[in-house]
């Protein structure tokens, strides 16, 4: 359990605060809303409502992370977002294809949703067209993924943030700055077992001490790629949820925890972990948790 010397930035999106010294704010939890083929909004709504109620109970902010795979679904998914989430609730969009990213930004602009949008994500594959679109329709907050295919260590992750590791013309932080993006989160890019998977966790305190920015990752992806767990169903689910405790334990601020369906396991687990951390950091570093922290909500 850590405390950082570097001043830690606390970023706000629609009233949800991310970042700061460990133990101050509850860990923010991003739950993935995936659609296989044509979106099944009824099922997604049930899972999102469940996540929001767990968030209310524990105090850990919930951010639904919407995957958009096809252009034809953009409008429907955005309409769903406006219907299913409480007004002003933030959300993130997770899109791989740059062309779909650009179209989605246009739609979010038209619907006036950019102030609630967390753009997931900017990485070394950013195209010129994507830069233009981000300049024109700038989301409130952006996740920068510090993936460096050359060097998967924390140093390599810092290299892409700092100077682009010769893969982009400047560092990813500089790119975000030039696009006038004011609020950036850093995702330390969790990789598969055998690919330095532990580095994404080790990089959290390094990046927080280096830049003071809110930092986290999707560590559960490592579990998804641990094929040896395939024939141990019950354990696999536990390990998947449990992997997320590494993030707050190493001082991180947010966890992209995988399918929203897993919220019932992940929220209590992280709330428990946040309480554990808060007790120590308040005792030794004088960091009092905020009113919405699980320690205040659950431990009377």
């Amino acid at each position: 359990m850590f405390s950082f010397t570097k001043k830690q930035e606390i970023l706000d999106i629609s009233g949800i605060q991310i970042g700061g010294q460990p133990g101050l704010h509850p860990t923010v939890l991003f739950g993935g809303v995936f659609f296989k083929g044509k979106p099944d909004f009824d099922q997604a709504e049930t899972h999102i409502q469940k996540m929001l109620s767990l968030s209310k109970k524990t105090g850990n902010p919930a951010i639904p992370d919407f995957f958009i795979r096809k252009e034809e679904y953009i409008e429907d998914i955005i309409h769903f977002i406006t219907q299913v989430l409480p007004s002003n609730h933030p959300f993130s969009i997770d899109i791989t294809d740059p062309a779909i990213k650009i179209k989605t930004l246009e739609h979010l602009h038209v619907k006036n949703l950019l102030p609630r949008t967390i753009y997931n994500s900017i990485h070394i594959g950013i195209t010129d067209e994507e830069r233009q679109a981000l300049k024109q329709h700038t989301p409130e907050m952006v996740i920068i993924v510090a993936f460096n295919p050359k060097d998967t260590s924390p140093d390599g992750k810092i290299e892409v943030l700092e100077n682009g590791a010769h893969l982009t013309n400047s560092g990813l932080l500089d790119i975000a700055h030039k696009l006038n993006i004011k609020k950036t989160l850093v995702d330390t890019a969790a990789l598969a077992p055998g690919e330095n998977s532990g580095a994404s966790i080790a990089a959290i305190p390094v990046i927080k001490e280096e830049y003071g920015l809110p930092t986290g990752c999707a560590i559960h992806n490592v579990v998804e790629k641990s094929l040896w767990l395939n024939d141990m169903d019950a354990a696999r689910k536990t390990v998947d949820a449990g992997s997320n405790i590494n993030i707050p334990l190493f001082g991180g601020d947010f966890a992209i925890f995988g399918p929203v369906e897993n919220a019932d396991l992940v929220f209590p687990l992280i709330a428990w972990q946040d309480i554990l951390i808060s007790e120590y950091t308040e005792n030794y570093f004088g960091i009092s948790p905020t009113e919405t922290h699980p320690r205040r909500k659950l431990f009377k």
């Binding site: 010397t5 791989t96 050359k150 060097d151 080790a202 001490e209």
Partner: protein, 189 residues
């Protein structure tokens, strides 16, 4: 080691060691016949492709790489693999003309990439999901029965050189240190 070949490991199934066909599956639930050498899914356009190239050249009997199924949106891993074979990489280690989001080959030497390009012919069946058709094509290449390419090539993974040698093994990282309570600060501060 579990297999004589395929030192880079990964998510794959090994079948006939001396067969000439390897099959790359893109978002398709399909089990190729056991007459092939190896098959498995491809997901990422960087590390995934590196593993395929490194594993394929470790088995000189593999002369055809059949890439089938639907390419992954955004990542375009299958098309990036085809581009690697066709064009190689540029000075920045980017696969030339690859359509994927982050198509960089950083852990394989040029020599290994060239060996991959020479050893195998890539059969581009991206977009084909008809299993019978895929099996027919696989069999047609197996029947060609080409000779082995020669000696196995065991690609060494390029490792970044450690930047700083630390005497203090208690440190978390070369950039930061932590006192016994858990206070983190920059090294040297």
């Amino acid at each position: 080691m579990e297999h004589e070949y395929y030192p880079w490991g990964g998510d794959f199934t090994v079948c006939s060691q001396r067969a000439c066909v390897a099959v790359v599956l893109l978002q398709i639930e399909y089990t190729p016949p056991s007459r092939v050498a190896i098959y498995g899914p491809l997901k990422t356009e960087n590390i995934g492709i590196e593993k395929i190239a490194a594993n394929v050249i470790s088995n000189p009997h593999i002369r055809y790489l059949i890439v089938c199924g639907d390419d992954i949106r955004g990542h375009r891993s299958g098309s990036s693999l085809v581009a690697l074979h066709k064009n190689g990489i540029d000075e920045q280690h980017k696969i030339i003309d690859a359509p994927g989001a982050i198509p960089y080959i950083e852990n394989l030497k040029h020599e290994a990439i060239e060996r991959f390009r020479e050893q195998v012919e890539v059969v581009d069946m991206i977009g084909v999901t008809d299993k019978t058709k895929i099996t027919t094509v696989i069999d047609s290449y197996i029947r060609k029965s080409p000779p082995s390419f020669g000696e196995p090539y065991i690609a060494i993974r390029i490792k970044p050189v450690a930047r700083i040698q630390l005497d203090d093994k208690r440190a978390l990282h070369s950039k930061i240190v932590m006192d016994y309570l858990g206070k983190v600060k920059r090294r040297g501060q």
